[in-house]
Symmetry: C2
DNA sequence: GCAATATAGTTTCATCTGAAACTATTATCA
DNA sequence: TGATAATAGTTTCAGATGAAACTATATTGC
């Protein structure tokens, strides 16, 4: 059975490869996928776990709720990442004075070791990733990303 | 128990909010999430399903393998999206002459209806999303996205 | 002070996902 | 031709995910 010729249609077409949300998604998934593969192979670490470690490296003692505020993660993701990081001895908890629901989170000695190894890798990956852009292009891209992120939040 | 003051560390810190892969991921997830919510609410359609419909709207008769080539999806995702789209009567299949493994995929009349409604929405969403950018900025961003996507592929 | 409400964090449940195994068919080549 | 390898597409399985329900604790308002 031979496909009959398509009847002429008046409908607008859309080229996925020029559609900005699609392009963003492809780039983001490629980049995150590669990074995730490295973290997994080298440290058995997921990206949510790394994000928690990253903010705790910079802001020791945040609670899980505060980690949630500082990352684009929800509290379930944070709770799970924290549970795994405790099990693998990368973070530890200390009581919050005056609130027995929450706990301060800190990188352990082990956690700091992982952190100290990942940071240079991350910087280097980013450097290689943007090596084809001039400093000016890189700044421009950053600025436009900011604008778009703000815009996306209000749509 | 009062947290003891953190011992001074020599380690480099990394600000997640300036890390390009993180920023890309946040923007992409925000944008895709909003679009997904709309597709789901309006059409009970997932993003993988929409991607399949989008390429079939433009290239009627592709096989699943060809859809895989033209989208950033793997064959499992395509297979599942195709199965759902058949069940909801948005696409139909016709035999490929000389190869009984593959089938040509086409939007049905129903599928064209959905497609014809989504395309203007998608264009409009993109327009609003980039409304804060000048034509020049928009072109610049597109160009840099291309560069970065190419770079990410080779890392 | 105590009932109602809010918050921190966890668990459950149903769904989604990717990798690998699988079936059916086609291509290669000795 | 028949054995082997490659390809199209599907299914299975184990783990990831998000929404909603849940526990424990804290805050608010009467």
């Amino acid at each position: 059975m031979r496909p009959e010729p398509a009847r002429a249609r008046r409908e607008e077409l859309l080229a996925l490869e020029h559609f900005l949300p699609y392009r963003l998604s492809v780039l983001s998934n490629t980049v995150s996928g590669r990074i995730a593969k490295f973290y997994e192979a080298r440290f058995q670490l997921t990206i949510p776990e790394w994000r928690v470690m990253a903010v705790l490296g910079r802001f020791p003692g945040l609670t899980a709720a505060e980690v949630t505020e500082r990352t684009a993660m929800d509290k379930v993701q944070v709770s799970r990442a924290v549970a795994r990081l405790k099990k693998t001895h990368r973070i530890e908890q200390r009581a919050v004075e005056g609130d027995r629901r929450a706990r301060h989170l800190f990188l352990t000695e082990t956690g700091h070791g992982v952190y100290a190894e990942i940071v240079p890798f991350a910087r280097d990956y980013e450097r290689r990733f943007t090596a084809g852009l001039s400093a000016n292009e890189r700044a421009q891209f950053d600025r436009l990303l900011d604008k778009l992120t703000a815009a996306a939040g209000t749509l």
